[in-house]
Amino acid sequence: MMGTLSYLVFFVTVASLFAIATLGLNLQWGFSGQFNAGVVGFMAIGAYTYAALTAPAQHEHVGGLDWPVIAALVAAMAVTALVALAIGLVTIRLRTDYLALATFGIAAAINHLALNLEGITGGGRGIAGIAKPFADLPPLWFGLAFLALAAGALLAVYLLLERLVRSPWGRALRAVREDEVAAAALGKDVDRMRLTAFVIGAAPMGLSGALYAAFIGYVSPYDFLAILTFQIWAMLIVGGSGNNAGAVLGSFVVWALWSLSGIVVVLIVPTKLQVQGGAIQAILIGLLLVAMLIFRPRGLMGERLHSSPLLRDDAAVRH
């Protein structure tokens, strides 16, 4: 039972880390309609910033700065937000599917940089020995303490974002999402609002990456592959975009399905056929997502704050 508890603690910690990134994505997509297909790039920036600031010197140049954990976490968020600002200034005016392509490409480029900028990222060797908070505690206590940290961070991000989307700024943001032209006519500086949402949304992604680095103690380019972006998106869609509680719920459900389906494969598929199990797992997850989009488009929870339903059905008629 202790083992199961320990695994549950681990599971909830990892899901919480994902949920933090999903909340950031929800601000970008759910509340301001920006399709960021490069979530993993922002997580990588957060993780590498944290790693570079806390890990001991290794390879040729990396590390030795020994920043305290909290300062490094804050710095990771700040650096991610800055990078997002630079990217946003370039991409903010793009139509949505181009934005998706641009961010998808940016994540790929960030991965290439991680692999090639050996002096900063350690290249393919990655960065090991990253500062883990509570590392001196016995394993189960470490797990619980880190869970508290992850859950605390999740709660803080959740509360801040909830406040933000309920503020007048948040309402204006949704107005922009629904009808850019109308919102612009009402005097809202649309580009600026979208850019702000993009940058604020990127910061939790950086935090998520940094906490992941702190949890595992090691980062490498292989941690930040495009599939992770897909996973985060799946979490948001399943949970219900435009709803912060939904984003959190979706993160837990999708991560449970993702890891659980691996366990189910172990349990029900004979060992001889298990090598095919991985493919079956991916197929099932793909089908689940598509089915979700078709049969339950608003996700498990859907959007709470109602916006004009007019545009959506208008589109339905036109098509």
């Binding site: 990892v14 393919g124 090991a128 090598v275």
Partner: protein, 425 residues
């Protein structure tokens, strides 16, 4: 709305607990003894992962046919990491916490092995015996005491490969080989060691071109390498990319003086490239293919899969599973620390030499039970874990004759050690 959230959350939790309950039923306290395995079955490393998983399963079958450990059969609990470290760590956590495996074998990707060592096995005090992770980062972590001595691997570090490549090239009189290498931790570490080794053995690398994995085509890289006009090509590449690179190199008129990495030691590679272009090719591997221990493994493999055991990681994963099983037999209790210490005890230089295969394993299990010391000489030949859990093993040079892989030369453990000294590693 609140209720709906609670309901959904509760059902998610319920799903997980149901899974756990199902597992708990299967987890009888003593028999069978579980052995964790984490191997990529899908994703970019899937092609090499699948036969590795099959071979690990073969090792477990051999142990069970030999009577099992402490009278219990071993059950291998296999998880797919898909090449994603997050899933690798999750799999390790699950194996350690829920399945309560006392040891983990397999683990192919260096990034995944490092993440698991860093996040799970060291703190859980569960030994990991990797078959295939070659990264030097893990050696460094060991030296810094960050693995707690719970990390082992049966695959030699990149230096053994570097020496073998250098020997294969210089033996054939290549003075200016060009290197195409995979742009990752393994490739760049190997390149550094290789430059040193070839320099010592009387040659000089004409130039080295890195390539990124999973590109649609490698024509540019091949053209750049061709422009360096070396007298041979040392190809350090994984299986699929390696076939593409070798095909493009040959068809663009590159020299057929090839020195190939161990990941390309497979019939698939030969048939992908064509045996007639490989008559001058040489390759390297870390395994010793002569001697009773290797023959025993090869025979067992052939009996099961009806083909020769050629391919990366097959010999090493067999050894990682068997040596772990023997250590379990040796250890007083099935706890991680006891197994960690026992892993070295079953390599006692003064012990009775025991070998792979059902018969060999049966003998060793009985010897251990009787309290006698054993020295496991594995599918890769004799090997010994050093203080960092690394092995310096023998290596071999192979070539292709009549479309078949044959051994050209063996660099045994003594020669290897001498070469290490000469090169100054």
């Amino acid at each position: 709305m609140k209720t709906r959230f609670m309901l959904a959350a509760a059902s998610a939790l319920g799903l997980m607990l149901a899974g756990n309950a199902a597992m708990a039923q299967g987890a009888a306290p003593s028999c069978p003894i579980k052995l964790g395995a984490i191997i990529p079955l899908t994703g970019p490393q899937g092609p090499i992962g699948k036969p590795i998983a099959d071979t690990a399963q073969l090792a477990v079958e051999h142990v069970n046919a030999a009577g099992g450990v402490k009278g219990c059969p071993i059950e291998m609990v296999l998880r797919d990491d898909t090449g994603q470290p997050t899933l690798g760590v999750d799999a390790a956590r699950y194996l350690v916490d829920v399945q309560k495996v006392p040891a983990i074998v397999g683990v192919v990707g260096s990034g995944i092995a490092t993440a698991i060592v860093s996040a799970v096995t060291t703190s859980a005090k569960v030994p990991m015996v990797s078959c295939c992770a070659v990264t030097p980062t893990l050696t460094r972590l060991s030296e810094e005491g960050k693995t707690g001595g719970y990390f082992f691997r049966t695959i030699p570090t990149s230096r053994v490969f570097a020496v073998a490549h250098a020997v294969a090239a210089t033996d054939r009189g290549y003075k200016n080989p060009v290197v195409i290498y995979v742009n990752n931790d393994f490739g760049s570490a190997l390149l550094r060691d290789l430059e040193k080794a070839i320099g010592t053995l009387g040659g000089k690398i004409a130039g080295a071109i890195p390539y990124n994995e999973n590109q649609p085509s490698y024509r540019t890289e091949v053209n750049q390498a061709l422009a360096l006009k070396g007298d041979a090509l040392i190809l350090i590449a994984f299986s699929q990319d390696g076939a593409t690179l070798a095909r493009e190199w040959i068809s663009l008129g590159g020299t057929q003086n090839l020195v190939l990495h161990n990941t390309l030691r497979s019939q698939d590679f030969i048939s992908a490239v064509g045996a007639r272009f490989l008559t001058k090719a040489a390759g390297i591997d870390n395994a010793q293919v002569a001697g009773a221990s290797v023959d025993a493994f090869n025979a067992g493999f052939k009996a099961k899969f009806n083909r020769d055991p050629v391919g990366p990681g097959l010999h090493t994963v067999y050894d990682s599973a068997v040596v772990t099983a023997l250590a379990m037999q040796q250890a007083a209790t099935l706890d991680g620390t006891a197994i960690r210490d026992a892993l070295r005890q079953v390599q006692d230089p003064a012990g009775e030499v025991v070998v792979p295969g059902v018969e060999g394993i049966k003998k060793s299990l009985e010897a251990i039970k009787a309290g006698r010391k054993v020295r496991y000489v594995g599918a890769t030949g004799p090997f010994t874990f050093d203080k960092n859990g690394d092995v310096t093993g023998p290596a071999l040079v192979w070539k292709v004759e009549d479309g078949k892989l044959v051994t050209d030369k063996v660099i045994d453990l003594e020669q290897m050690t001498a070469l290490f000294k000469r090169i100054g590693y």
